[in-house]
Subunit: 282 residues, 2 copies
DNA sequence: GAAATTGATTGCATAATACGCAATAAGAAA
DNA sequence: TTTCTTATTGCGTATTATGCAATCAATTTC
């Protein structure tokens, strides 16, 4: 009796793990499906979404229930995440440090993109560099640990501009807008007024990438992306910079790698918890 | 060649699930072991704790890594919980009605009290921040999503100290008591010994408010209260914090608002169902 | 209320793979 | 550089996960 061949549909969990256990891979894809529902789900819903026969899914769910990761509601018969899922997750949250985890892989990001890379967090002085990898080509730069950036005139600053709640930004943004207006500065993609700032930040959040069309530091190009938490707030900005303007091209490999890096280090919010849009109210 | 018979040692995960999948049961017991470490662990540590051969555990970990539930640190080779575990946890928390309802009104609490506000749930690493509102005045803080707190030296920790059953607290409390005693630390309202802890927790449960007389973080004051379920067990701690020490005054409006908030989000246990005092047996 | 339909759960034969064990590779210590 | 320790991988086979059908349970229809 032949087993059905593996489905060729693009599975987000990406099929089987080399050196892993196939049954476990399949089971974990079921757990992921269970997680992706907004709330309790029927066996047939789960099986349909997982692309598996209900009897197979039922056995996986039996084990998840036994382990406390899932529960079956008595009245409706629906399955939901169990207490152990919360405990596992909160343990993971308590061990998650966005800066440390991004730092662990920053060297590799710099190496594969061929750019210098930095991490910045928000501080009293604005976006502040907390970690930096020089990468293969960077020779000299004044940017180093502790460097800060303006909000409007740097890729990193624009990322914070796009994700921080207004109260945190207010004074600093106001100062920069006034300064730019008083010396008649504007950018191809930004005029120093609130409407233009709003349009730019909407674009940055949509595209998950920021840059400055023009130059912050002569001879340097930079792109930046946000690592966000489950409230949709920015935790760290990841920035690539180097001397080649092709870094700014929409199809540059580094750009894709950066967006991917930031996404891999972000924790996506579920629909219900707080900000359903994933973006702080502005 | 016979497979080794199942270990007769009392496995907390309770062996195999009727109607489940044995490999999955075993793998999930490994995941539970990984969770139980305070941080990254070596393969041999995990295998020893799980009572399994390292090669078997390695294969399970390969699948967990593939699914994003675990990561292996490049430098140390140690294994830790991954991003998918965190996202699973956030999803599971978002199905906890106590957390969801408190989250829905957290922003308002922060606004009306003028303080930053946070929600913390218990994890293996202690009280862990799962939700946070910065409020009108907080600009920078090292407290963020995923932050954990000590039991004795934080308002949030003291709330959990007052409501969690002793077995859950035992190791962590013991460590903190020993550490405080060894460096000669004490607080105006707490000496590092069990009797003093008992008196403090009784007071906290009576008043439904906890704070630290002294400072956990210099310049920050915090008060915390428990949201409890129908069995009188703590589900979430709600904490207000800010830079003004008047937050700690017994007549401060924020204090009253916090106690009211927690009470409104708690379920009063029915008097006829056991614990009429609403306190878990200690 | 009975019959039909739908969804959940379980039994069973067997194809598939999880497993133990040993070998190999990689990393750390001397 | 050598030795020791830990992590990872190969492989034969014993074990079990699986597909399919049957059974059970719940819901819907008449």
């Amino acid at each position: 009796m032949k087993r059905t061949p593996p489905k060729d549909t693009g599975e987000e969990s990406g099929g089987t793990a080399p050196g892993g256990i196939q049954a476990l891979d399949a089971a974990l894809s079921v757990l992921r499906v269970l997680r992706s529902f907004d709330g309790p789900a029927t066996l047939s819903d789960i099986a349909r979404e997982a692309g598996m026969p209900p009897s197979k899914v039922h056995r996986y769910l039996a084990s998840f229930i036994h382990a406390g990761l899932a529960v079956q509601k008595e009245r409706s018969g629906r399955y939901d995440l169990g207490r152990e899922a919360a405990e596992l997750g909160v343990a993971a949250i308590s061990r998650n440090n966005f800066v440390v985890r991004a730092s662990d892989e920053l060297e590799e990001l710099a190496a594969t993109t061929g750019q210098a890379a930095l991490l910045a967090v928000w501080s009293h002085n604005g976006p502040t560099v907390v970690r930096m990898e020089r990468g293969p080509h960077l020779t000299t730069t004044s940017i180093g640990l502790g460097s800060t950036f303006p909000l409007l005139d740097s890729a990193t600053g624009r990322v914070f501009l796009s994700y921080l709640p207004s109260p945190q930004l207010a004074g600093r943004l106001q100062n920069e807008l006034e300064r730019a207006a008083s010396v008649g500065v504007s950018w191809p993609d930004l005029n120093p007024n609130p409407e233009s700032v709003e349009a730019l930040t909407t674009k940055i959040r949509r595209e998950r990438i920021a840059y400055v069309d023009g130059r912050y530091i002569p001879g340097l190009s930079a792109i930046s992306s946000a690592i966000t938490n489950w409230q949709g707030e920015i935790e760290v900005a990841v920035t690539l910079f180097g001397t080649h303007r092709d870094l700014l091209q929409p199809d540059s490999p580094a750009r894709g790698a950066l967006i991917d890096f930031a996404a891999r280090h972000s924790i996506v919010p579920p629909a219900q918890l707080g900000n359903s849009s994933g973006v702080p109210e502005r």
